[in-house]
């Protein structure tokens, strides 16, 4: 660990965005090399070579298969994640603000969070069928947990002195929530959303495997069962890419809302 460096400094910029991009590319290159090495050594084509994977991606794209599956998956994912955000943030905030309510339900949330989502699948099929509702529900169940729990923790970690100040101005509970508590909980919210977004993506695949098979999850099953590992890797990489896009756009949002933390932090 290098020590923390001087900060809030006079016009000193943090490690430039350029350096970061460069380092990321270098790291990516290392990963690809490692992958190529693994492909060469692991027996019997369990790991396809990077070249074969690129070739497979080209093929899938030109056939239009990837796009179609991607579209299906994104609808499921977007619906489930959207619902998780709309439910998770207010619920977590409510749990944090109303202590008795929070303490009453939180164990049940923990219990639910610890229960494998597959365990609910029979129930979900009975209640919601096999369509988008059922799939979105599975995504929702996965994504909502980190969002609730992180919001809950963020609201609990609020600055009581600031809240007392806000009360002294006659601000309503809602105004205090919106202007003081939630902005203060922003770093928690962002991790919650990040985790929710990644878990939601994983659950999209699970949902597509366990209810009517479709989308990227369906392709994953197809290529996995028929041992087409290059195609399989293309799907895995596509999933990773979606995850990166969503989480990186959260970074932009966070950056905009955190300008008050002066630049120059290491």
């Amino acid at each position: 660990m290098t020590g923390p460096r001087p900060q809030n400094g006079p016009g000193r910029r943090p490690a430039g965005a350029g350096t970061v991009t460069l380092m990321r590319l270098a790291f990516l290159l290392c990963l690809i090399l490692l992958w190529a090495l693994a492909a060469a050594t692991v027996p019997r084509g369990m790991i396809p070579s990077p070249a074969a994977t690129v070739e497979a991606a080209r093929r899938l794209l030109s056939e239009g298969r990837l796009q179609g599956a991607l579209g299906q998956s994104l609808i499921t994912y977007g619906t489930g994640l959207g619902a998780a955000i709309l439910v998770g943030i207010p619920l977590g905030a409510l749990m944090g603000m109303v202590r008795l309510f929070g303490r009453t339900v939180d164990v049940f949330v923990f219990a639910l969070a610890a229960t494998p989502r597959v365990a609910f699948i029979p129930l979900i099929i009975v209640l919601l069928g096999l369509g988008i509702e059922a799939k979105a529900m599975i995504v929702f169940l996965g994504a909502v947990m980190p969002i609730i729990l992180n919001t809950y923790a963020g609201v609990q970690a609020r600055d009581e002195e600031l809240i007392e100040m806000a009360r002294s101005t006659g601000a309503s509970a809602t105004r205090i929530q919106i202007h003081v508590v939630l902005p203060g909980a922003l770093p928690f919210l962002v991790v919650g959303l990040r985790l929710g977004a990644t878990i939601g993506l994983i659950n999209t695949v699970v949902a597509e495997l366990y209810t009517a098979v479709s989308g990227l999850g369906g392709l994953l099953a197809l290529y996995g069962n028929t041992f087409r590992m290059a195609e399989y890797f293309v799907i895995v990489l596509a999933l990773a890419a979606i995850g990166v896009i969503v989480t990186e756009s959260l970074r932009l949002l966070e950056g905009r809302l955190s300008r008050w933390r002066l630049p120059g932090r290491p």
């Binding site: 019997r44 084509g45 099929i125 098979v213 369906g218 041992f227």
Partner: protein
Amino acid sequence: EPFRLIISDLETPLVPNSVVDLALANGYFERAGVEVELVRVQQTPMAMAALQAGEGEMANVSTDALLQMVARGTSDLRAVMSPNKSLPFLIAARPDITDPAQLEGRSFGIGRLGSLDHSLSAKVLAAKGVDMDRMDLVPLGQPAVRAQALLAGQVDATTMSIGTWSAMPDRDSVSILVGMDDYFAAAPVTTKVNVVTTQVLGSRRAEVEAVIEALVLASRDFQDPDLWVERMVVARPDVAREDLMVLAEAYRNSWSVDGGLTREELKVTTEWMYGTEDFQGLRPVRLEEWTDFGPLETVLRKLGPAEG
């Protein structure tokens, strides 16, 4: 060190594949002079990975998966026998559907488009004069999920294994459209085989032969429905004796009394599989690339052909 046999049954199954568990429980392997340990995994892909990782010496896998791998360049796997070549499949439907013809325009649950159960069902239904393309096919993945969807009324009919069917609660509310016999008649293919790596075949050939011997002997014994039911009652106390007796009758001719591996059947199997969607564009494979009749022949020479 023990000879590890990888199977994808979580407990003694209700199909002829039960010989593996029964053989172990009843000392067949010991008598054949080999110490066997069962490694249970959930599905064929895991069994394949485990075999390749050296987590077992022999694995019971589906034939289409093996063919896929061989066609895609794997060269060191050999099928040496099949303890359960028959097809314990059936098509079940909601009670108001009693004839396959009624299925047109209805929803039908399959594993996935192009999967083995899909191709087989298409073939079976075609034999009954029903065109699967005129149904609303719903890919549902796992067999248990297909059954759940049927029970929940989310699909009108689906294929399932006899094992799944016999475990289903409230079976009376489901009608059987196509039974097991029809299945095997329509598609006489060997769906599951036991494979070993060529390396194991070289270094532990005697044990491979002993395992085959024990399984063949067990199959010959459990041909007798009464014996099978008697042993199954012990292995599966949760299943009613009457159900077991019905199953035993149904399996009467499905036991691998001669090892379950014949050139003709495998040839039919290969040809049939290459006609399905999953295999389109794949390089044809020769029998020698993925089977080795040597060990089985040795065993059969020693034991002689099955009686009756």
